[in-house]
């Protein structure tokens, strides 16, 4: 059996934007997969066996002997191991730009974004300011294009998926508006295009269920934020 035809399993958890990145990549490539949902408070043997280092989702299992961890690493693997539309562009310089901006999203936007919802007062204001500044930098990268990848969805669109979906969800769940209604028009337009895309729609998490999840787990995430601040 060619490696592409071997079965694919994705270990995920409801609400994880990191696992969601991988689902979009698989959908873009037209790769069928079995979704295994973890209870992260009660991690399975399967997860612990295949991601002993981080014990986190997502984990992609391809055939009997391939386990890939870390969402960006998995997305690049899916791009290289399977035929179908390119996720990363062909040109090395464009690839470098896509990777650079994906790391920007992960390292400069992700943390202040989440922390602005799970903290309060001055600390919250600090994270919100940083998130908004970096949202502006990211927005500039759209530069009139339909997607970060141009006419079609690419690596950076997948990397930034949390913004298209989780932003509204978190604002509703936590009653804190990180982004005002008229702000970041290009990002808003992008989010609409993104969530209307066939591949993205296929694996879109149920919005109401996501909101309910974050409302229910608000104290847990606030606790995680407090612990992170103390480090």
């Amino acid at each position: 059996m060619s490696s592409q035809a071997q079965p694919v399993k994705l270990i995920s958890a409801f609400g994880s934007p990191f696992a969601y990145r991988v689902e979009v990549a698989l959908a873009l490539k037209g790769v069928p997969y079995e979704l295994v949902l973890e209870d992260l408070d009660n991690k399975s043997e399967l997860l612990l066996k295949h991601n002993p280092v981080h014990k986190a989702v997502p984990v992609l299992l391809h055939g009997d002997d391939r386990a890939v961890c870390e969402s960006f690493v998995i997305v690049e693997y899916v791009d290289e191991a399977f035929d179908g539309p390119r996720i990363l562009p062909a040109d090395p310089y464009d690839r470098a730009m896509a990777r650079f901006w994906a790391h920007f999203v992960e390292n400069k936007l992700s943390k202040p974004f989440w922390m602005s919802f799970w903290t309060e007062g001055e600390v919250r204001e600090g994270f919100a300011k940083e998130a908004r500044e970096n949202l502006a930098v990211l927005e500039a990268q759209l530069d009139g294009k339909r997607f970060f990848g141009g006419d079609s969805l690419g690596f950076l669109d997948i990397a930034a998926c949390a913004l298209a979906i989780w932003l509204d969800v978190m604002q509703e769940a936590h009653g804190f508006r990180l982004v005002g209604d008229g702000e970041f028009p290009a990002l808003r337009r992008w989010a609409k295009e993104y969530t209307a895309h066939e591949a993205v729609k296929k694996c879109l998490p149920d919005r109401d269920r996501l909101v309910a999840y974050f409302v229910t787990n608000a104290e847990k995430y606030k606790g995680i934020a407090r612990a992170a601040l103390q480090q």
Binding site: E70, Y93, R99, F100, H103
Partner: protein
């Protein structure tokens, strides 16, 4: 040393003590590429640096025919892909092997440098001890990865240095120096 055969101009905006710059230097040498080294003053940053890396204002920056590429591991992959026929391949050919290499490079990025930074700049013994424990734990994990990946050879990549070796290599000199501090 060749420059890739075309009219290529490679400039590295670097600073000699930086482990991140070191990664790029090693990659350039592995590929056998000529480049101009432009040493940066990180206290009084040059116009060129600020213009080439407006987002982070950091080294290393690679200028390839004037176009900037930033972030050390992004640059290493860029060199490997741009100069695919030249010198040594840094990432392996097989997609799964590439994924494993990228995983460990990301691990080194997340677990080694932040803890090293903390350990070196710690003002209390408590913070220093905690950071050091983190580094040691990460190094132990890397020892395990090395045993598995090197298969008895000298490098994570086997007979010759590859992506993970380059990612970690930058810190070797740092660690030796920090020992003395």
């Amino acid at each position: 040393m060749a420059g890739g055969g075309r009219d290529e101009q490679l400039k590295l905006l670097g600073a000699w003590p930086s482990p991140f710059v070191h990664r790029v230097r090693v990659a350039l040498h592995l590929k056998g590429l000529d480049y101009e080294n432009v040493e940066q003053d990180l206290v009084n940053k040059s116009e060129l640096l600020l213009a080439s890396n407006p987002v982070h204002k950091k080294v290393p920056v690679l200028l390839h025919n004037g176009r900037p590429v930033c972030e050390s591991l992004v640059i290493v992959q860029y060199l490997d892909e741009s100069f695919a026929g030249t010198g040594q391949a840094i990432l392996p050919a097989d997609p799964y092997d590439r994924a494993i290499a990228r995983f460990w490079a990301a691990y080194i990025e997340d677990k080694i440098f932040p803890s090293m930074s903390k350990a070196l700049t710690a003002t209390t013994d408590e913070v220093k001890t905690a950071a050091t424990a983190n580094i040691l734990a990460a190094l132990e994990t890397l020892e395990g990865a090395f045993a598995e990946l090197s298969r008895g050879k000298g490098f994570f990549a086997g007979d010759a240095p590859g992506y993970v070796d380059v990612a970690l290599g930058g810190f070797v000199a740092w660690m030796r120096a920090s020992d003395k501090l």
